[in-house]
């Protein structure tokens, strides 16, 4: 921000470039300075949530636990999916999904719901959606600690040996989720129907992500080049689930003649990792850019 807007002639381009560099530098410095605020907002999020409940954090384990029991009964007894330890398979994917969905759900209300603050105080607005992503990340890490004995029991010590790969997968998904969350937060300010559509979008997205079923099963049933298998692979979340599940549960592959075979915990395949990395970076940059472009008018629109 500079007052020399009227600078004319050949200096104009240089001035503009300089101003853009300065704005970019300022933006990053500002986010860095706001880390204390981000930390406080995450604490607030966690405290407010469990302030008056005796079980506290354990409540957030209730949904995944019940879902796992229900789906395990349905998909092992009623409609069997040919996969070892279905409960372990499901919960590894579901915790990841829950992190993604809850982060976006918190973020979508984060600007609109903090109208008073946004209209009265200046701070980098991106800390509001990011605080939801980070508090959900803390939930995810705690939840993994809670279920790890179960995973080790069913899938072997390989789960612990591949911990670095698990953490890498979580890091990539966090970057991806931050981008999606910022997009939802900013778009909901100008298009409030988004929060109504949210449930529908995430229902469809959930079934389009191989959480309940392995991607290999779709390939096995319909063929590698089938429309559905191709469509599912265009969903970035499918790759995050794949990358995350390899070290937590194991790979599920399509063995020729043998149908679906579940292997033990392993490192994720490089192509899957590459796709996850690429979509995380692209979605983060796109989401952040969309957020910054709109953030100027938040105080007017709310």
């Amino acid at each position: 921000m500079s007052a020399d807007a009227g600078a004319a002639g050949s200096a104009d381009g240089a001035v503009r470039a300089g101003r853009r560099t300065r704005a970019g530098l300022g933006k990053l410095l500002e986010l860095w300075r706001a880390r204390e605020l981000l930390d406080q907002l995450v604490r607030k999020e966690l405290k407010v949530r469990y302030k008056s409940s005796a079980l506290g954090f354990l409540w957030s384990m209730l949904t995944p636990a019940l879902m796992t029991v229900v789906f395990a009964i349905v998909f092992t007894q009623v409609v069997p999916i040919p996969i070892d330890d279905f409960a372990a398979f499901f919960i590894a994917g579901y915790l990841l999904w829950q992190f993604f969905q809850n982060s976006c759900q918190g973020a979508i209300h984060s600007i609109v719901g903090n109208g008073d603050l946004v209209k009265k105080v200046y701070f980098p607005r991106e800390v509001l959606p990011l605080s939801h992503v980070i508090s959900q990340l803390i939930h995810l890490l705690l939840a993994l600690v809670v279920i790890s004995p179960f995973l080790v029991w069913t899938r072997g010590v390989g789960v612990l040996l591949h911990l670095p790969a698990t953490l890498l997968a979580i890091a990539l998904l966090t970057v991806f989720t931050a981008g999606v969350a910022m997009w939802f937060a900013a778009t909901n300010v100008v298009f409030r129907d988004l929060q109504e559509l949210f449930i529908v979008i995430f229902q469809v997205w959930f079934y389009a992500t191989p959480v309940l079923y392995p991607l290999a099963l779709v390939r096995d049933q319909l063929g590698d080049d089938s429309l559905l298998a191709t469509a599912l692979q265009l969903n970035p979340m499918a790759w995050f689930v794949e990358v995350f599940r390899s070290p937590m549960y194991g790979s599920v592959v399509n063995a020729a003649g043998d149908g679906i075979v579940s292997g033990g915990p392993t490192v994720p395949s490089l192509p899957a990792l590459g796709i996850a990395l690429l979509s995380a970076v692209v979605v983060f940059i796109a989401g952040y850019a969309a957020f910054l472009r709109r953030s100027g008018s938040f105080a007017k629109e709310i």
Binding site: M1, R22, G26, E36, D39, V48, K120, F191, R192
Partner: protein, 297 residues
């Protein structure tokens, strides 16, 4: 020009070679939708007949504030005072023109904005301090001072939703004044709280002005304005109608209030007795601004 540090470069640290605030040709437009289409259904059904009017809350406002100046902004309700303060605080970006602030800016637009009712006073001090840009150590250092200023020691570990509204505001003020910025923007916050709180907060602000910091105050309290500030800007329907010594500005504003109150013909409404040099540039504004006054038949 001398080499500047990164913090000066990005405007986060005061650079004494530049003025504290430079506002250049700033216009801020609000779109008033007559029936606002925010949802999908409305968007689809009203696609072709979205009706709105653009309203300039500020138009072509330019001024410069030097370091250490204390400036008041006065004007009628809806004259653009609060919008100007929000622009200076960077809550709104200017639609046209540029604003440069040089140094750390703190704004007291609303006390206790961002308090969370379910958190305790102690927790809210840290949260609110962080919202205002303070680090954890900085809040640790100032914690006792904040608690003393607000007088909330016995209620420190009680949820703030149980606080009285006066206490709430006092805590908000106590946190805000410890920020210690280079430029302080204050909007009418003195109007809340009891007499003791008001005199205490005036004292804090006077101390701030005496310390040679830059101070911008929006207020309807003309006595406070006259006491706290050397210079005043009079805003009239988004235009800068006067910029000069505070005594002249207050006099001018009083006359305008008086003439707006009495029904007159538009021609007779031009205020008399104010310095002609300040009026020559803004005469068109002056005559336009009286349209809201009741006209003689």
């Amino acid at each position: 020009m001398a080499r500047r540090s990164i913090e000066q470069f990005t405007g986060l640290e005061a650079d004494p070679t530049r003025p504290a605030i430079v506002v250049d040709g700033v216009t801020e437009t609000f779109r008033l939708h007559h029936e606002r289409a925010v949802g999908l259904k409305e968007r689809l059904t009203r696609l072709r007949r979205g009706s709105y009017t653009d309203f300039d809350a500020l138009s072509e406002v330019s001024f410069t504030v030097e370091h250490g100046e204390s400036v008041a902004v006065i004007g009628h309700n809806g004259s653009g005072k609060s919008t100007l303060l929000k622009l200076l605080a960077r809550i709104l970006p200017p639609d046209r023109g540029t604003i440069e602030t040089n140094g750390r800016v703190a704004s007291l637009l609303e006390l206790g904005a961002g308090f969370h009712g379910d958190l305790t006073g102690r927790e809210n001090i840290y949260l609110n301090g962080a919202i205002l840009g303070l680090g954890r150590e900085q809040i640790d250092e100032r914690f006792d001072e904040i608690v003393e200023t607000a007088g909330i020691r016995p209620l420190l570990d009680t949820a703030v939703r149980t606080y009285s509204s006066g206490l709430y505001v006092r805590l908000g003020f106590a946190i805000a004044v410890t920020v210690d910025p280079d430029i302080l923007l204050v909007d009418e916050v003195l109007a809340v709280g009891d007499a003791e709180f008001q005199s205490r907060s005036l004292e804090r602000m006077r101390g701030f002005v005496d310390a040679g910091k830059t101070f911008v105050l929006v207020s309807h309290d003309l006595d406070a304005v006259r006491e706290m500030c050397d210079r005043a800007l009079v805003l009239d329907r988004g235009r800068l109608a006067f910029d000069g010594p505070v005594a002249e500005a207050v006099e001018l504003y009083r006359q305008r209030v008086a003439s707006a109150a009495a029904p007159r013909t538009p021609d007779a409404t031009r205020p008399v007795g104010c310095a002609s040099r300040t009026w020559s540039s803004s005469a068109p504004t002056a005559s336009r601004s009286w349209r809201s006054a009741p006209r003689a038949p």
